[in-house]
Symmetry: D2
Subunit: 366 residues, 4 copies
């Protein structure tokens, strides 16, 4: 695996490295960690890879790695959003599969271009919609698909954070509030898209319409930092999606609650090793990572016995594990790919435009 | 105190009795518990009051009680919504103060009429917006008013229930889904108005605009059972109000989270004896009913030492305690009265009409 | 009901009044609230009873009330422990049933004397082991009795408090740390006995042996303020009972966990409206006050729908409700009576003496 | 790193591999994964290491690795307890530092021998007392050392599990209940020693006396599966240590609560990213992994921003990170080493013997 981005000070670069390597199916061996060659080399030291394989730019990396017997066989893109497309385009052109951080690209047009490139190249592309990697999220999906709550009626998905409640400072904050690098969405592109993806993943239903109310609450901010979005799903179910980065004191409080005609199910990311299931007979069950009742999607993605908490890195690693399976030619039906990435961009684009136009309910293209 | 409504099988009648009598400042001594004289007498037995004072109708009660030295000095109205106005009108005409369950009336027009009657009569009227009686809710109000979270930016208030997820059965369900008795609002009038009241109470800010999306999810239901409403407060703060009675497995999950420029605060009704406060310096505090830091609004409304949980009945009793103070001529600034009752009806009426018209953002009259 | 004790500044007197009256089966009408007549009258005002019926001493009360058609028909004893026996003795002699706060008396010898007096008088005596009044505690008892966890193997009951972590101040603290008024036990008599009673109540098993380690942690304290006690139950099950009043920050953290061969069950007083049940098939269930699966012991002792939290006062009222039933000649098998009271004193006495003698394991008399 | 043990079906071998490699300072490259050569090779495949470096026995591994330029520079011992000493002895003799799973050895005599060998060899030895690797456990230690709760008075440490509630089956269970492989302690050696180590680590106080009550609850079991132990610390503080493997439904419920003269602190392993701190001024704080107030011990051992839960593997990795620092010649004062390992064995040995003799309070040798 070769990394694109993830230089000194990065948050998500090291996370991709941890996640990719956890199961020892993948190894980070090369990268263009920064457009600044010195910084790229510095990152190589931090990642403890051969400094020779810290490259100054993509063409150099692709050429050098191709020449090696042990050259990289895919790239992982962890740059700010505006570099996703150029990086992916170059990698696909070099014949390399791509794993990219979310959102897929900075704009919908870019995403559509990328979807075309992927189709043409016939190469795998994965998107790290991390939260779908949690074993209990996969178990919720399995149970709902199996009818555990009956026909879906209502979804509430919330993603509260507080770290951008003040005018941004620091590398992580800076690019996320800059349209030139983040794209058209701020909060919606950074975390709202996770909530959207999670809601479709867990319920197995597509969102068909939405009503978006986005705002930049912090004075002077160019992009949204607080989003309230009403949803309709294909089967008629109603939904609410809330995402905010100005809710002081909230850390990474992604939560989802799904209700059907006969039951309900709820989960929160900060305590990811269990969820609550309300059964049709009135019982309330705490389903835990240890439980014998878990299906293969969940049971096959835990690494420790019950009560030994697994967290964000392990969930992230499950995405990479699926990607590794795909690289080996196996099936990995839960891996988020180009379709989910493109869908996320459609969501961001539709919501941003609808909110700006105060358009009320609008359709979300399929 | 004379009760109007609350006959056999009632839920809220006994609650009013518990609450009114808890502090021994008020005693239930008479009532028209049902329009059916037999049922009214049966209720008297259940309440253990003198059967002579279980009256068949209001005029009889008012006349008989007036003739007694120990006659009632106010009425408590616990009927379905459509009987609030007639009952209150009669009581005020008889010179009696009124405590009424929420919502104030079945329709806004009725509420406006009642507001006029109250003004003319010059008599106290209280409304049991119960949740404002919780000591820690009052403490949140006090802290926010004192600047604990800085200028308000965001409010999320949720009221999930699941008991009406199936076509209604039973006395409690039946009238709530019948427009002739409940009024124009279903879920919004039964619980949404509580959430609305709580949001204004805690924040000290008025809602000025809203966007309402109400639906009857259960097939064949005439009134809404699921509400998603976006809010704007007078100072520009954004809000989300969710109320539902079809979220299977949820009991009475009222929750509120308020965020300001420098802090945040959150509370949930099902664990009412503490709230979480995020401070400007990054600390997270669990404020408990026992804490020495509580101000007089909260400290004066608890009855047991910390760790001895108080609940719904005690919160309800705090509303009656305020009402008793008002009857004695004392000041009780936190008692919900005609203004709060009328405001709740304005909210219900505005939201129901806006949703029906798919009107997008509309103003909420002051 | 006539109250003995509970004068100005008392904590538990008002609690008894709330609890006794909540269901309107009992009314506080008289009392000797203090041995100081002025204070007794002052209390009458706070309780809002007829000042004529605030008596200076027991003989006066018994004589005066006997002479009334509406005289008291039982007494409630809420004094410090050393006055329980004299008060009960006098009441029984006057032909009045007795409800008394726990522990039954100050010493085991007194308890034995009282047991004899009760037997002779043939009058009901109840003891407010409050926590057995919680509906979900009763449900746990019912489920364990019905075999829900299989044969009992292990019990852990903990009662952490922190309010006596500093040398005592205030009326509530003062008498509890004074052997002349509290008796031989400090923490063990104040709260340890609750934990003991709860463990036998819930499991249906008697403690037959114990190993006690009691200490006065706060310098200068004459009575224990921290207790660690190992238990053996009649069927061989093992137990641990921890009680402390010096665990800074703990409020009233009574918790019990019971494990059998096939399941487990746990509950905590500070969140009393649910418990956790681990089933033999590996499922973990949250049993809630609302659940349709509750048996009559629990379902018959709740007053509000699920999600409307009930607390300490309501649990306390359930004890009085049972007592009222007994006064009416009905059966109330869950009411703690002289047997439970005497058993608690046997526990306190045995543990205090065994700890003082560093006696290791000792038998607990039947 | 070369692994000893951890063959097919092992639980803790893969955990050591994850943990060792997470920060990319260590790589698993060789091992004697099983005494059965075929199984050893099979394990190599699972770990994805060069099958050539899966050796049939220790002498072969040490010789072959010594001959390589990239040979292993330490071993990690993950066998059942009875093989810890022979493995460590051989590794030290081969000049290799040792990381070993806990408990240090099967018996105290073995531990003492190993301590001598380590002293003679002058080589580092680490012991994976995993739970001391949690960042917030380290923060508790730092705060208590800095006086946050005042002089220590009381410690309650509990370690409930339920997975051995039935007669053992499966590889993990089997050896743990076999004295020939586990040593003299069952539950106490498997998890009690973790609780003991944690209590001394967090408080900075040594246990000086104990009273142990151990039992084999499951019929036919040769070793203890349920332990209740009373403690005294050097400064006079009182303690309770509970460990059980027969509490049905409990997963890995390690918890610790520490109380001092002025405050209290508590943490539970299943939700490891926060702890509760009761302050001297009565405030209750939730300290979270994100907090700016964290000291360097904690802040330096987290890998993700607040709200991205870290768990057991990351805590385990922190132990390895300290070990890697020691291998580089750096200081790692929190790494559990031979002293902590020996101390754990002294605890196990003392408790097992005291319990068997029903000896009451006994001294715990320094």
């Amino acid at each position: 695996m070769g990394m694109i981005g993830g230089g000194p000070g990065a948050f998500i670069g090291p996370v991709h490295r941890f996640a990719a390597e956890l199961d020892r199916e993948i190894e980070l061996v090369a990268g263009v960690f920064s457009s600044d060659p010195d910084r790229s080399r510095a990152a190589a030291g931090q990642y403890r890879i051969d400094p020779e394989r810290a490259y100054p730019d993509l063409p150099t990396m692709f050429a050098a790695e191709k020449a090696r017997a042990d050259g990289i066989d895919f790239v992982s893109i962890v740059t700010p959003n505006h570099n996703h497309l150029p990086s992916a385009r170059a990698a696909l052109a070099a014949g390399l599969p791509v794993m990219t951080d979310k959102p897929l690209t900075a704009t919908l047009a870019e995403a559509q271009e990328l979807a075309g490139l992927v189709a043409t190249a016939g190469l795998p592309l994965g998107v790290t919609f991390t939260y779908t990697g949690y074993p209990l999220v996969r178990e919720m999906k399995a149970r709902i698909a199996a009818g555990a709550i009956g026909p879906l009626r209502k979804v509430v998905v919330e993603y509260p954070q507080g770290w951008l409640s003040q005018p941004a400072e620091g590398k992580q904050a800076e690019w996320r509030v800059d349209p030139a690098r983040a794209g058209a969405g701020g909060c919606i592109g950074d975390i709202g898209v996770h909530a959207f993806n999670l809601s479709e993943f867990v319920t197995g239903q597509k969102v068909t319409r939405l009503l978006a109310d986005l705002a930049a609450v912090v004075p002077g901010r160019a992009l949204d930092d607080d989003c309230s979005i009403l949803l309709r799903f294909a089967n008629g179910a109603r939904g609410v999606l809330l995402a905010s980065q100005i809710e002081v004191g909230e850390l990474n409080g992604l939560r989802i609650r799904c209700y059907g005609e006969f039951g309900g199910i709820s989960w929160k990311q900060e305590e990811p090793n269990s969820f609550t299931q309300h059964h049709a007979d009135g019982r309330t069950e705490i389903v835990r990572a240890a439980d014998a009742s878990l299906g293969p999607w969940a049971a096959g993605r835990t690494r420790t016995p019950g009560g030994h908490p697994e967290g964000y890195l392990e969930a992230f690693a499950n995405i990479y594990r699926d990607f590794a399976a795909v690289l080996r030619g196996e099936d990995a039906p839960l891996l988020p790919g180009i379709a989910e990435g493109l869908r996320g961009m459609t969501f961001i684009d539709t919501a941003v435009r609808a909110s700006a136009a105060n358009a009320g309910w609008v359709d979300l293209a399929d």
